[in-house]
Amino acid sequence: MTISKVETAKTAELAKLSFSASELTAMTVELKTILSYMNKLDELDTDTVSAKSIPDTPTVLRDDTPMRSLTPNQVFLNSENMAQFHFIVPKVIDLKNESE
């Protein structure tokens, strides 16, 4: 079982990376090489291995006390794309919610 160019393209879409045709070919070859090494794990029988041991002490949880947030200057310190305290992106065409 080895990765195909189609799968590479699908994976790129999942990772929001885009490659030119030649880059896609090169990436496929590289992934093939790496994955064939990874396939070493097929030799190992892990059926009887239980999941990582769960700690048996109750989880430490955070108190529900509000703390100060960032100032607007700090929120937008690293982004020039802002309008009236909103971040801006190009129009989203696949809408999760029609309107808010």
Binding site: L14, K16, I54, P55, D56, T57, P58, T59, L61, R62, D63, D64, T65, P66, M67, S69, L70, P72, V75, F76, A83, Q84, F85, H86, F87, I88, V89, P90, K91, V92, I93, D94, L95, K96, N97, E98, S99, E100
Partner: protein, 476 residues
């Protein structure tokens, strides 16, 4: 050809915690966008999530109320996908090992009740909000990003739009009772997606599942589901296939339409969240929460009918929300007769609440004072009409009903009516013509005499009282 409808609902309810699920930003509403954000919920480099204790408690409350099995160990998982309102590029949710599994609610049904089983309840975080500008841009506000949600997944056992609404209303009311969620669909803190499929009755195979999103009121839930059922049924009747897809509801047309270019099966690449350890909850933590659970809607409903002998209608109205029920019961505890009180709340109190746009529970007369008024009614010290008048006065000051009655004897059915007696005697003396007519068979003039007395009292007195005294005098 008979068709069978199978509906499953997924509810996302925002939990009423003070802070977000994985960071300490306040969840209070702010008009200023991106003013309730921090490096963690903005997904800045090097930041890490921490679990909100209150959110876990609230989720457990809900799970207990819906009879779920709580998992002592549950695991947070990353749901990976890209969207501008999702800063980290993944949502922290729960996948393989949710907080709670199983559970059920019972819906009233023609033959008693119908049980709807739940599949699971799990914790996750909300995404930010997008506002679509008229131009070519979308604006993003991350204030909501990271607010705690519970996702409640039902088994696909609902069979109509109506049933779906019933289910939603019951879940919502319970969550409000538990004080874990505000349950406001319009404001978006209680959301629902529906999975609808139709198949030929008796067929083993399930029909194609269509997911319906973007329904923000109970009315639209019913409309949307009903439309979808009709649409799918028609397709099948015409020998066509129903496509597995996601559709949105258009409230203007009342129809559903397919989302464009939607990745029909997104690969979320779930894996356990490495920044969080498994959530380990001890039995005694759960037990503590169980003992502090408030009485649930159906328990209260049953109790109201059995203990207070209220009608179904009255019981339903009074337990609309926990605070209203609490108000009712406080009054009863202060000595008010339940049935008279129920009538009174359904009547004058509800009217006042409507007109002044407040909750019944926030009615400005305290339970002890209202109970006092009801007691006066019960003991027949006053009539309904004078009770209304007394209540008007009670709204303007802090006097008890009894105190007001003492100062306004005209409201009293018995007791000191000396002044009124004198006034009536006085009017009668001046109305000998009418009295003569009355005694000669013309009972109708009673009203005219009443009229004169009322005029004299300038409408201050209770007609019932006047009428009784007048009648007495006339009979003498």
């Amino acid at each position: 050809m008979q068709y069978e409808v199978i509906i499953g609902l997924e509810i996302h309810a925002q939990l009423k915690t003070q802070t977000k699920m994985f960071c300490a930003d306040s969840t209070d509403h702010s008009e200023i966008p991106n003013s309730r954000t921090c490096p963690i919920c903005l997904g800045m480099p090097g930041t890490l999530p921490t679990i909100n204790k209150q959110a876990v408690e609230y989720a457990i409350r809900a799970a207990l109320a819906f009879n779920c099995k709580i998992n002592n160990t549950s695991v947070f998982a990353r749901k990976n996908y890209f969207y501008p309102d999702l800063p980290k590029g993944y949502q922290i949710s729960q996948y393989d090992k949710p907080l709670a599994e199983g559970g059920y609610i019972d819906l009233p049904h023609e033959n008693g009740s119908k049980r709807i089983d739940l599949e699971r309840i799990h914790l996750e975080e909300d995404a930010g909000k997008s506002i679509h500008n008229n131009g070519d841009t979308t604006l993003l506000n991350y204030n909501r990003c990271g607010v705690p949600l519970i996702e409640i997944v039902s088994m696909p056992q609902l069979s109509s739009g109506q049933e779906a609404v019933q289910y939603l209303k019951k879940i919502r009311q319970t969550l409000i009772y538990l004080d874990v969620c505000d349950g406001n669909m319009e404001l978006g803190n209680f959301r629902c997606d529906a999975n609808i499929s139709v198949r030929v009755a008796g067929q083993a195979e399930l029909g194609a599942k269509v997911e319906l999103k973007n329904i923000n009121s109970f009315r639209f839930v019913k409309k949307g589901i009903d439309f979808e059922i009709r649409r799918q049924t028609k397709l099948l009747e015409n020998g066509q296939t129903v496509q597995i897809q996601t559709r949105l509801f258009d409230s203007k047309t009342g129809q559903t339409y397919a989302m464009r270019n939607k990745e029909q099966s997104s690969d979320y690449r779930y894996f356990p969240e490495p920044d969080l350890l498994p959530l380990v909850i001890e039995d005694n933590f759960i037990a503590e929460i169980k003992t502090s659970l408030p009485e649930l809607p159906e328990q209260k409903y049953t109790r109201f009918i059995e203990n207070y002998k209220l009608s179904k209608n009255q019981a339903t109205m009074l337990m609309e929300n926990r605070q209203c029920a609490g108000y009712f019961e406080s009054c009863v505890a202060m000595g008010a007769d339940p049935i008279i009180l129920a009538n009174w709340i359904q009547g004058p109190v509800a009217n006042y609440a409507n007109v002044n746009n407040i909750e019944i529970a926030n009615f400005p007369i305290s339970a002890p004072r209202l109970a006092g008024l009801i007691q006066c009614l019960e003991q027949k010290k006053i009539t309904r009409v004078s009770a209304k008048a007394i209540m008007e006065k009670m709204l303007k000051n802090y006097m008890t009903a009894q105190q007001i009655l003492d100062v306004n004897p005209q409201y009293s059915l018995s007791g000191d009516t000396e002044k009124l007696q004198k006034l009536i005697t006085h009017v009668m003396e001046n109305s000998s013509d009418l009295i003569y007519k009355y005694h000669n068979g013309n009972k109708k003039v009673f009203g005219a005499i009443m009229g004169r007395i009322m005029q004299e009292t300038k409408g201050q007195s209770d007609p019932e009282v006047i009428s009784r005294i007048l009648q007495q005098k006339l009979d003498d």
